[in-house]
């Protein structure tokens, strides 16, 4: 493990992503990415009484699925890093309470998936673990209830709003084995540019994504063309556009190999999702479902995965606080 530049860590032993799993909700199942997910739910409750219980079940089953697909026993998993959007991360802690794996609850809002993978890969690199599991979940109904308005109120959604992805994605990292490996991690700084609109998350998070992206390029000496794909988590259409603009101010043109999971998840016109998908599960399911397979098939050889998060809660919004953004990046090679 080597510290490169200001905030990047180079992983010499290259932790391997040996398996991933993804489960998504019914709306995601109607989207263009549906075919890549392991399992699509028919309704938001999945036989549970509340949305929160459903979300816990989704993350639990996703973790179980990843473990069974990987062929290693759950006792061989040394640590679990997981998080979600609900208060005190109840979806992951309740969902994984029977997993019997040492557990770290992680919160980085929608950036949690890459944050978990960053921490997990450093655990493996340091020799503290052989296998770790990283998982995140989100649920449209429980997230709307907590962060914006109760669904029953039937509020109208502005064009800048995004649709929280219902689902969970999970990856198993290992010190050995077959699969794409993590070569660099660039944890991001908190960046707050004074955006207060909780219905415009893309704009709130784009400066953080820009900051992390520039730090990654500066630290590693790489440039956008060194990657086959640069993928952000959930900036949506507006945030994606802003990030491309911001990169141009520093002389980088990322538009030819850059995409956003929030844009990829839904069909904007058919599904009425406005500025695209969001939530912890957005990047987690798209990476676990789509990009992991692309890496395995070597259609993408070098991927820079940047998860973006808005570090606000409902109280801070009600008190008129602005929304601090964060973004963490990992470089993956197949």
């Amino acid at each position: 493990m080597t510290r490169i530049g200001k905030q990047t860590i180079g992983l010499d032993n290259r932790p391997v992503i040996i398996q991933t799993a993804s489960i998504v909700g019914p709306k995601e199942a109607q989207g263009p990415m549906a075919g890549y997910f392991d399992h699509c739910l028919e309704d938001e409750f999945w036989g549970e009484k509340t949305w929160e219980k459903a979300e816990s079940k989704i993350i639990k089953e996703t973790v179980n699925l990843a473990i069974s697909k990987s062929g290693i026993s759950s006792s061989a998993i040394d640590f679990c890093f997981a998080g979600d959007l609900l208060n005190q991360c109840i979806s992951s802690s309740f969902g994984l309470r029977d997993a019997n794996i040492p557990f770290f609850g992680v919160f980085g809002a929608c950036s949690t998936f890459v944050e978990s993978m960053t921490l997990g890969s450093i655990f493996i690199e340091s020799g503290a673990a052989n296998n770790v599991i990283c998982a995140t979940s989100s649920h449209f109904c429980s997230a709307e209830k907590q962060f914006r308005f109760p669904l029953e109120l039937g509020n109208q959604r502005p064009p800048t709003s995004q649709w929280t992805v219902t689902g969970s994605g999970c990856s198993i990292l290992s010190s050995s084995g077959e699969g794409p490996c993590i070569t660099h991690v660039t944890p991001g700084k908190i960046v707050d540019m004074g955006i207060k609109d909780a219905n415009n998350m893309g704009a709130a998070m784009a400066p953080a994504a820009f900051d992390t992206l520039m730090a990654h390029f500066e630290d590693t000496g790489r440039k956008p063309s060194d990657y086959d794909a640069i993928v952000t988590g959930d900036l949506g259409y507006i945030g994606k556009d802003i990030l491309e603009d911001l990169c141009k101010t520093k002389g980088y043109n990322i538009s030819h190999n850059y995409d956003d999971c929030g844009v990829l998840m839904f069909d904007k016109l058919e599904q009425d999702t406005h500025s695209g998908g969001s939530g912890c599960a957005c990047i987690a399911t798209i990476f676990s479902g789509y990009f992991y397979k692309q890496l395995q098939e070597r259609k993408i050889k070098k991927l820079l995965l940047i998860a973006t998060g808005a570090l606000m809660n409902s109280t801070s919004s009600q008190q008129g606080e602005s929304i601090p953004g964060i973004a963490h990046a990992i470089a993956i090679e197949s």
Partner: protein, 109 residues
């Protein structure tokens, strides 16, 4: 190109330019005529009840029952939420959510 993230205020101005606004005139117009149409239907039912000899209080109750009944029926057919989205009024959607709950409960029972 100037740097939009120089200060929070320049960034906010830049974001305002980038973000599409809600189509407020279209929304208001649709809310106006759909709302007016619903009121007119209610008035027709009310007048019919009065014509049939009902008292004002009873006629009011019948109007509510019929309108909620129609809304519940359309909700069952998955039409009401589309009208709610089109007409773009929160109260109207609350009506829909009530009916959705009502239908959901009936369906489950």
């Amino acid at each position: 190109m100037t740097n939009p993230i120089e200060t929070p205020s320049t960034y906010n101005k830049y974001v305002d330019k980038k973000s599409p606004n809600s189509p407020i005139f279209k929304n208001c117009f649709n809310a106006f005529w759909v709302g007016g149409l619903i009121c007119s239907i209610g008035q027709i039912i009310f007048d019919f009840c009065k014509y049939q000899g009902l008292e004002t209080a009873s006629a009011n109750t019948v109007v509510s029952i019929v309108l909620i009944g129609i809304a519940a029926f359309l909700t069952g057919l998955n039409i009401f939420n589309k009208i709610g989205k089109f007409a773009g009024a929160r109260f109207f959607n609350s009506y829909y959510r009530f009916c959705e709950f009502y239908c959901f409960t009936c369906y489950r029972v």
